[in-house]
Amino acid sequence: MGQRASQSGESYGRSSSLLESIESDPPPLSREPDDSSGGRISRIARFPRRAVLRLRGQGLLLPSVVSAGLFFLVPLALLLVYSFGSVNLLDYQVYFGWTISNYTSIIRSIYLGVMLRSLALSLGATLACLLIGFPVAYTIARARGRRQAVLLVMIMVPFWTSFIVRTYGIYNVISYNGPLDRLLNAIGLVHGQLQSLLFQPAGIGIGIVYSYLPLMVLPIYVALERIEPNLLLAASDLGAGPRRVLRRVVVPLAAPGIVAGCFLVGIPATGEYTIPAILGGGKAVMYGNVVSDQFLSLGNYPFGSAIAMALTVLILAVLLWLRSRAAKVESRTSR
C-alpha cells in the first residue's frame, strides 16, 4: 500500500511542473492580499492534486486485470493444470494429478502423425502465400500514386468483408463440379473422374491462402517500399542482371517483411478452426481442429489440454526465436 502511494507520488512529481509552477509562483492578479494560508489559488491547486492522484490509482487497471487475467490467463492456466490430469473415459470425470502421460501419449498416439501433417499443411499454405504474395507486393510497390493506392485497397477490401462468407465462397469454388474442378479438367490436370478438392488437404490450403493472403502482401509491400531505389540502380550498374538484383538485393532487403508476413499467416493458420471445419468436411486435419475435437466431441479434456499446451509452447518458441533474430538484425544494421 505504502509502496503504491510513493510510486504514484513519484510519477506525480515528475510530470507536474505546471502545477508546481502555479503553486510556487502564483499570478499576482488573482491573489488576495491578506490570505496567506487558505488562498483561492492554492486551494484550487491542492484539490486537483489529491483528486488526480486518486484517478491515477491502480484501480484503473482492474478492468484489464479481469479481461487479461480472469478471462485469458486463468483459462490458459486451467488448461495447463488439466494437461497433467487424467480422465475416466466412461463417465468423463477428470482427475487432477501430476502425470505426464498426456504428453507422452502425444508422441505415441496416432495423433502425432495427424499433428505433424497439420503443421506441414500450415507450413505449406504459408509458403504458398509467400510465393503468390511476393509478386503482388512487388507490383504494388512498383506502382505509383493513384494506381498504388487502388491496388492496396483492393488487396485489403476482401479482408474487411466477412470471414465466414469468404470461406463459404471458396467452398463453392472448390466444390464438386465447381469452377475450379471444371478449370482443372479443361486444362487437363484432372481427367475423367472428377476429383473434387473439397474435403482434401489441398482444398484447405487454398482456403487458407485465400483468407490470409492480404496479411502476407502488406508487410512485404512495406519492406519493398522502403528499399532505396539507388541500391537497385547501383546493383545493375555494377553488372547484375535483373534476376540477380532480385535475388541478391531485393529479397534480402525485404527479408524482415517476408518474415513478418510468414508469421502473420503461419500462426493463425496453424490454429485455424473454421476453414478446415468447412473445407475439410469434419475430418480433423489442422491443429486447431485436432485440439477442439478433444474437447467438443471426444471429451478428453486432459489430452486436449496437453496438445493445446504443446501448440502454445510451439508458438511462444517461434515468437521468441523471431525476437532474438530481430534483435540480431538490429545490432548488425546499427553497427
Binding site: P75, Y171, Y273, I278, L296
Partner: protein, 273 residues
C-alpha cells in the same frame, strides 16, 4: 528482361485479384439468383432475402449477434480506456508486462483461448450462452481496443488535462471534458472494429454459445456444413454488408482523423493471431 518480369508479377497480381473477388461476388450473385439449385443464372429475385428475413431463427440469431457485438464492444472500450489512463503512469516494467499480455491475447490462436474459457465455464458450472460469448469476444476485442487507444494516448501528452485540473476541474470533469473529446476518434475506430470483429467471429461464438445462444456467423457455419440452401447466400451477403460497412467507416475515420490506428486497419483481428 526487366520488362518481362514486371508483366509476370503484373499477371500474377491480376489473377490474384480475380481469385480474391470472384468467390465473394459469386455469393452475392447467387443470393439474387432464382435457381433453387444454384447451378445457373435464371433471373433476378429477392426471394431468398425474403425467406431469410421471415425466418424466426435468423432474426433470433441476428438479435444475439447484435447483443454480443454491442455489449462486448462497450466492455472492451471500458477496459481499453481505463488501461490507457493507467498506462501513462505505469513504470517501464509494468508497461512491458502489460504490453506482453495485450499482444499475447492478439497473437495466440483464438481456438486456445476459447477452449480455455469453455473448460473454465464447465469447471465452474457457469452455463454457456450469450454472456460466455461476450466474455470470449472481450478477450480479443479489449486487446485491439487497448492497442488503438494507447496509440492515441501516446500522441496526446498530458498538458491539456493538467491545465484543466489546474483551473479547478474535478478529475471526472477533466476526463469528460478534456480527455474523452481528445480520445473520441480513436474510441470510435476501436468501437467499430470491435463491432465488426464480434459480428464476424465464429470460433468463440461457436464454442461458448452452447445450445442457448447462436450468432449469425455460427448459423452460417452450421448451414454451410450441413445443408446448403440458397438462403445461405442471402444471409451471408447481409452479414458481409454489415461487417464491411462497419469496417469501412472505421477506415474512413482513420484516414480523415488522427487516431494512431492506421496500421491496425491493415492488419485487423486475424492479423496477428
Amino acid at each position: 528482361m526487366r520488362q518481362r518480369r514486371v508483366t509476370m508479377s503484373g499477371v500474377i497480381t491480376t489473377l490474384v485479384m480475380i481469385f480474391l473477388y470472384a468467390p465473394i461476388v459469386a455469393v452475392v450473385v447467387f443470393s439474387v439468383d432464382r435457381d433453387p439449385l444454384l447451378l445457373h443464372w435464371t433471373g433476378f429475385t429477392v426471394h431468398w432475402y425474403d425467406v431469410a428475413v421471415h425466418d424466426p431463427g435468423v432474426s433470433a440469431d441476428f438479435v444475439t449477434s447484435l447483443e454480443a457485438a454491442g455489449l462486448s464492444t462497450v466492455l472492451s472500450l471500458a477496459v481499453a480506456i481505463t488501461a490507457g489512463l493507467w498506462f501513462r503512469r505505469a513504470s517501464a516494467r509494468a508497461r512491458r508486462m502489460f504490453d506482453f499480455l495485450t499482444y499475447s491475447r492478439i497473437v495466440l490462436p483464438e481456438v486456445l483461448v476459447a477452449l480455455g474459457l469453455f473448460t473454465l465455464m464447465q469447471k465452474l458450472g457457469i452455463p454457456l450462452g450469450l454472456w460466455a460469448i461476450i466474455v470470449g469476444h472481450v478477450v480479443f476485442n479489449s486487446a485491439y481496443a487497448t492497442v488503438i487507444i494507447q496509440a492515441r494516448f501516446a500522441t496526446l501528452g498530458m498538458s491539456l488535462e493538467q491545465a484543466a485540473a489546474d483551473l479547478g476541474a474535478s478529475p471526472w470533469r477533466v476526463f469528460r471534458r478534456v480527455t474523452m473529446p481528445l480520445l473520441r476518434p480513436a474510441v470510435l475506430v476501436a468501437a467499430l472494429l470491435a463491432i465488426s470483429f464480434s459480428f464476424d467471429d465464429v470460433v468463440s461464438s461457436l464454442f461458448l454459445g452452447g445450445t442457448s445462444a447462436e450468432t449469425i456467423p455460427v448459423l452460417l457455419f452450421g448451414m454451410i456444413r450441413l445443408h446448403v440452401t440458397p438462403e445461405v447466400n442471402a444471409i451471408g451477403a447481409g452479414q458481409m454488408l454489415i461487417t464491411t460497412v462497419t469496417f469501412a467507416i472505421a477506415g474512413l475515420i482513420t484516414v480523415l482523423r488522427p487516431t494512431g490506428a492506421g496500421e491496425m486497419l491493415g492488419f485487423g483481428r486475424r492479423a496477428a493471431r
